[in-house]
C-alpha cells in the first residue's frame, strides 16, 4: 500500500474516525484505525462495537492496500505534522509515514482479526445537516446522564411520514422537537432510541454537510442500528433497548397563566440570582402583570432577588425551579422571547420560544420543566 494525501485532509479524517475508538479497548485490534486505499480513495474506519465511524476522502493512491494501525498514535501524529503532503506506505509489517523531513515507522495490527463493521441500514431519508444538529442539541440537553435508568440516556427518534420527532427526558424535564425531512419512501414509520451523547456528537460532526442521510433498520430488522451519513462520513450506532416513556399525554394542553419574557434578560437574571443558589437550590419565580420577580437563597444563607419586565396572561403565579434546568431550557429554545405556560405551581410548566413578543409560540420545540416544591 502506498498513497499521498494533504496533511489537513488526513488530520481531519483521522480525528473524526478516531473519535469512536475506545479509551480502553476490550481487544487490542479495536484500538486500531483501518486504512484502506483504492482507486484514488482513502477510507478510514474505527469501531468499538457500539459506534462505528467510516470516512472517505480523495487520495493519490499509488498502490492499493489495507492496513490497521493504532488510531490514537496516528491521530496524534497527523495533528502534529507540518502542513505538507503526507505519504503513507507499508514496509512488511510496518507503516511508514513521511511528511516533509519527518518520518515515522509504526507497527501494524492484524487486519484479519479486525471485526467487520456493521452494515449501514438502508437509507430512510435526508435532513439538512445544520438543522439536524441544532434540533438534536435542543433535545439532548434534557437527556438523563446517569446510567441507573439507561432508557433515559437516549433520544427517542420517531419517524412518521415526512416528520421526525426527537424526544428526551431525565424525568425532570422533557424536550421534544419536530422537524421535517425527506423520506425515501412514503408512509415510513419507525422508532429508535439513540444514545444521546453519541447522537449529539454525530449530528455536530455531520453538520458541515448539506444533507445528512439517516438510515434506520425498520423495527425488528437489523441489529438495532441507526446510521448517519453526510459529506463522506458514515457512522452507525447501536440503539438502546427498553421502553421510552409515553410522553404526549404528559404535556399539558390547558393553562391558567401564560408568561412571556425577553429571553436574554431572563437568562441574565437567572444566572445572577442563582449565584446564591448553592448546589442547585431552587430559584423562585413570581409572575405578576408586567413583572417577574426572581429570588434565590433563604434563611441564613445568602439571598438574591431581581425583577425583570414580563407579560402575564391569566392568574399570578409563584413557582420554583432548579436554575440549571431552567437555563438549559432557555438556551435550547434559541428565541428572542421565552413563553412559559403554567397550570399550578406543582405541575409541569411548558417553555417555548417566540421570535417576537406578539408572535405565535414556536410549535416545533417544547421544553417541559418540573418545578421544585418545598418539602414538608
Amino acid at each position: 500500500m502506498k498513497f499521498r494525501v494533504e496533511r489537513d485532509v488526513l488530520a481531519e479524517a483521522v480525528a473524526w474516525a478516531a473519535r469512536s475508538l475506545p479509551a480502553r479497548p476490550p481487544v487490542p485490534v479495536l484500538a486500531g484505525l483501518l486504512l484502506a486505499a483504492d482507486e484514488g480513495k482513502l477510507s478510514l474506519s474505527g469501531f468499538d462495537y457500539e459506534v462505528s465511524a467510516r470516512v472517505e476522502t480523495e487520495a493519490d493512491v499509488e498502490e492499493p492496500g489495507t492496513v490497521l494501525v493504532s488510531g490514537r498514535l496516528l491521530a496524534d501524529i497527523s495533528r502534529s505534522l507540518p502542513n505538507r503532503p503526507v505519504e503513507i506506505s507499508t514496509d512488511g509489517v510496518r507503516v511508514i509515514v513521511v511528511c516533509g523531513s519527518s518520518r515515522f515507522t509504526l507497527p501494524t495490527l492484524p487486519v484479519d482479526e479486525y471485526p467487520a463493521l456493521p452494515q449501514m441500514p438502508t437509507v430512510s431519508g435526508t435532513v439538512p445537516g445544520e438543522a439536524f444538529a441544532a434540533a438534536v442539541a435542543q433535545v439532548a440537553t434534557a437527556a438523563g446522564r446517569d446510567d441507573t435508568l439507561p432508557v433515559l440516556t437516549g433520544v427517542r427518534v420517531e419517524i412518521e411520514g415526512d416528520r421526525v420527532t426527537l424526544a428526551a427526558t431525565d424525568r425532570y424535564r422533557f424536550a421534544v422537537r419536530d422537524l421535517m425531512w425527506k423520506p425515501e419512501q412514503e408512509g415510513l414509520s419507525a422508532v429508535a432510541l439513540v444514545p444521546a451523547k453519541t447522537l449529539l456528537d454525530t449530528a455536530k460532526s455531520l453538520s458541515a454537510g448539506d444533507v445528512v442521510s439517516i438510515a434506520l433498520a425498520g423495527s425488528g430488522k437489523g441489529e438495532g442500528l441507526i446510521g448517519f451519513e453526510g459529506a463522506g462520513r458514515r457512522t452507525t450506532t447501536r440503539l438502546l433497548e427498553g421502553e421510552f416513556p409515553k410522553f404526549r399525554a404528559l404535556f399539558p394542553t390547558e393553562f391558567n397563566s401564560v408568561a412571556t419574557v425577553p429571553t436574554p434578560a431572563f437568562v441574565e437574571a437567572v444566572k445572577r440570582v442563582s449565584l446564591v443558589a448553592e448546589r442547585n437550590t431552587p430559584v423562585r419565580l413570581s409572575f405578576e402583570q408586567g413583572v417577574l420577580t426572581l429570588e434565590a437563597g433563604s434563611g441564613d444563607d445568602a439571598q438574591a432577588t431581581e425583577r425583570v419586565e414580563a407579560d402575564l396572561e391569566g392568574d399570578d403565579i409563584s413557582i420554583a425551579f432548579n436554575p440549571a434546568y431552567l437555563l438549559d431550557g432557555l438556551a435550547a429554545i434559541d428565541a428572542a422571547v421565552a413563553q412559559l405556560s403554567f397550570t399550578t405551581s406543582t405541575k409541569p410548566a411548558l417553555l417555548s420560544g417566540k421570535h417576537a413578543p406578539d408572535a405565535e409560540a414556536d410549535e416545533a420545540y417544547k421544553y417541559l420543566i418540573m418545578p421544585v416544591r418545598l418539602s414538608g
Binding site: Y172, L250, L368, M370, R373, S375, G376
Partner: protein, 493 residues
C-alpha cells in the same frame, strides 16, 4: 468554665416504661419492660420495678424474660413517646432557645442563653446557683403537671458534669454540681463514666492500674496521649479534670433519615422481602416528610442470615421526598444484592438532605393516574354500594399483586400502609385498641386465636380484662391517648 452551673441536663426517668405505666393504670408500681418482643428483641427501657430483677436496657429480651418472668412485656409506642417528648422539649424551650435534644427523653439546655441569662450573669455565683436550682425544680414540676411523668435534672457548668449530675439525681431528683466541687464528684467514678471511654479504652487503662477517674486526673496529659493517642488521650484527660468546652448546640441537623427492621425469622422469599422493603421505604418517607426534609441519596441496608451486612446506595441528581421515587430506587438497589440464605434485617435510609423536592414527571403522572383510578373506584362504589366491582378490580392497570397476593402470610407489622389485603390481624402486647362497646383499652396478650384486652385509660382506674377472638369485628386498632387529660398532644380523644 462558668462560675454559675447554668448548663442543665434533663433526663426523663425510665421514659418508655414510665409512659406505659402512666397510660396503663394497672401497670403502675409493677415491673414493665418495653422493647422488641420477638426472639431477637432487646430491651429498650425497663421500669425501676423491673430493674430490681436485673433487667436493663440493651439486654436481650429472652434474658430479661428469664430474670423477670412476671413483668409486663410491651411493644414500644413511638408515636406517643414522640408526642410526650415534644411537650417536654417545648417546656425546655421556654427556659432557653439553646436546647440540644440527645434523644426523645434527654436534652441539654443552656440557661444563660435564655430569659434568665441576664440575672445569671449579673448576680453572684451563689445567687446564680440558687436561681438555676429553682429553675430546675420548677421545670420538674412543670413536666409532671404537663405529662404526668417524673424527670431528673443535672446542673453544672459543663455538659459533661451536668450529665453526671442528672445521673446522680435519678430517679425523680435534682443534683447541682457547683464549680469547685468537680473533683469531689468525679474522683470516685469509674473510668467508664467518661464519654469516649469504652470497653477497649477501659481495658487499656486497667492494665496500667487506672480504674477510677481520680487516677486519670492524677496522670499527666502527655502520659495519656502516649497511651491513647493525641486526640483521644487529650480529650479523656480534659474530661477527667472536669474540663469540657463543648457548647450546647440547638437543633443539630439530622444528616439522614433511616428505618430498619430485624425479622423474627429470616426472610427467604424475594417477593416477601420486596414487600417488606416497600413498607420500610414508605415508613422512611413518612419520617422524612414529617421532618420537612427531602434527600438525594437512598441507602438500602441488608443483613443476611450470617450477619454479613451490605449497604447499597444510589444518588439522584436532585432531592426528592416522593414515596414512589424512593421506593423504586430502594427496589433497584435491592436487586443488586444476592439474598440467598435469608435476610435477617432490612433497612432503608435517605441522606443528602435538603428542604425542597424536585418534582418527578413520571412519579407525578403515576400519582395522578392512581388518584384518578381511586376516584373512579369511589364513583363505582357509590353507584353500587353492595357489589364488589369486578370492573374496577380488573381495570387496575398496575396489575401488581401487592405483597404477594392475599394468600401470602405477612408475619409482621399488622395493618397500616396501603395493604388492605391483610387477612389475619395480629395484636401486639401494649398496642392501643378500641372496642365498639367497651371503649379504649390495650392488648395484654394474644395467642391461639384469642386476644386479651384490658379496658382502661390513662385517667381511669385500673380496668377490667376481657378476651376476644382475634378477628372480633368490634375490636379495632386505636390511637394512643394523651397521658394528661386535655393536654395539647395526641390525636383525637
Amino acid at each position: 468554665m462558668r462560675s454559675v452551673p447554668s448548663i442543665l441536663h434533663l433526663d426523663m426517668d425510665a421514659f418508655f416504661a414510665s409512659v406505659e405505666q402512666a397510660s396503663k393504670p394497672s401497670l403502675r408500681g409493677k415491673p414493665v419492660v418495653v422493647g422488641g418482643l420477638g426472639g431477637r428483641g432487646v430491651v429498650a427501657t425497663a421500669s425501676y420495678e423491673a430493674r430490681v430483677f436485673g433487667v436493663h436496657s440493651a439486654m436481650p429480651m429472652a434474658q430479661a424474660r428469664r430474670r423477670a418472668p412476671h413483668a409486663a412485656y410491651l411493644i414500644p409506642r413511638f408515636e406517643l413517646y414522640r408526642q410526650v417528648s415534644d411537650l417536654v422539649m417545648g417546656l425546655l424551650r421556654e427556659l432557653s432557645p439553646l436546647v440540644e435534644p440527645l434523644s426523645l427523653d434527654e436534652a441539654f439546655v443552656d440557661l444563660e442563653a435564655g430569659p434568665y441569662g441576664g440575672l445569671l450573669r449579673e448576680g453572684t455565683p451563689e445567687e446564680g446557683a440558687e436561681l438555676v436550682r429553682a429553675l430546675g425544680e420548677d421545670l420538674r414540676a412543670d413536666i409532671l403537671a404537663a405529662v404526668g411523668l417524673t424527670a431528673s435534672v443535672g446542673l453544672s457548668g459543663t455538659k459533661f458534669l451536668a450529665k453526671i449530675a442528672s445521673e446522680q439525681a435519678k430517679p425523680d431528683g435534682l443534683v447541682l454540681i457547683e464549680p469547685g466541687r468537680e473533683r469531689e464528684v468525679l474522683d470516685p467514678l469509674p473510668v467508664r463514666a467518661l464519654p469516649g471511654v469504652g470497653p477497649a479504652t477501659a481495658e487499656t487503662l486497667r492494665r496500667l492500674g487506672m480504674t477510677q477517674v481520680s487516677q486519670i486526673a492524677a496522670t499527666t496529659e502527655d502520659e495519656l496521649v502516649r497511651l491513647l493517642g493525641r486526640a483521644h488521650g487529650a480529650g479523656v484527660h480534659a474530661l477527667a479534670l472536669g474540663r469540657d468546652e463543648r457548647a450546647v448546640v440547638a437543633e443539630r441537623d439530622a444528616k439522614s433519615v433511616s428505618v430498619e427492621d430485624t425479622f423474627e425469622v429470616d426472610l427467604g422469599d424475594r417477593e416477601l422481602i420486596r414487600a417488606e422493603l416497600d413498607r420500610l421505604a414508605e415508613r422512611c418517607v413518612r419520617r422524612l416528610r414529617a421532618a420537612g426534609r427531602s434527600g438525594r441519596t437512598v441507602v438500602v441496608k441488608v443483613r443476611l442470615f450470617d450477619f454479613t451486612t451490605l449497604t447499597r446506595s444510589e444518588t439522584l441528581p436532585a432531592p426528592t421526598d416522593d414515596p414512589l421515587v424512593i421506593s423504586a430506587m430502594a427496589r433497584r438497589l435491592l436487586e443488586s444484592v444476592e439474598l440467598t440464605g435469608g435476610v435477617r434485617l432490612l433497612g432503608v435510609g435517605v441522606s443528602g438532605l435538603a428542604d425542597f423536592t424536585q418534582e418527578d414527571l413520571f412519579a407525578q403522572a403515576e400519582h395522578e393516574a392512581a388518584e384518578a383510578e381511586a376516584d373512579l373506584r369511589a364513583l363505582a362504589d357509590a353507584d353500587d354500594p353492595v357489589a364488589d366491582d369486578p370492573e374496577a378490580e380488573g381495570g387496575d392497570g398496575g396489575g401488581e399483586a401487592a405483597y404477594g397476593g392475599p394468600g401470602a402470610p405477612r408475619a409482621f407489622h399488622p395493618g397500616g400502609g396501603v395493604g388492605t389485603l391483610l387477612t389475619v390481624r395480629r395484636w401486639m402486647p401494649g398496642q392501643d385498641v378500641r372496642h365498639a362497646e367497651l371503649g379504649h383499652g390495650w392488648v395484654q396478650g394474644s395467642g391461639v386465636g384469642r386476644v386479651t384486652v384490658r379496658f382502661e385509660t390513662p385517667w381511669s382506674e385500673r380496668g377490667p380484662v376481657r378476651t376476644f377472638s382475634v378477628d372480633d369485628p368490634e375490636l379495632a386498632k386505636a390511637d394512643p391517648l394523651p397521658l394528661v387529660r386535655g393536654s395539647a398532644s395526641a390525636g383525637e380523644v
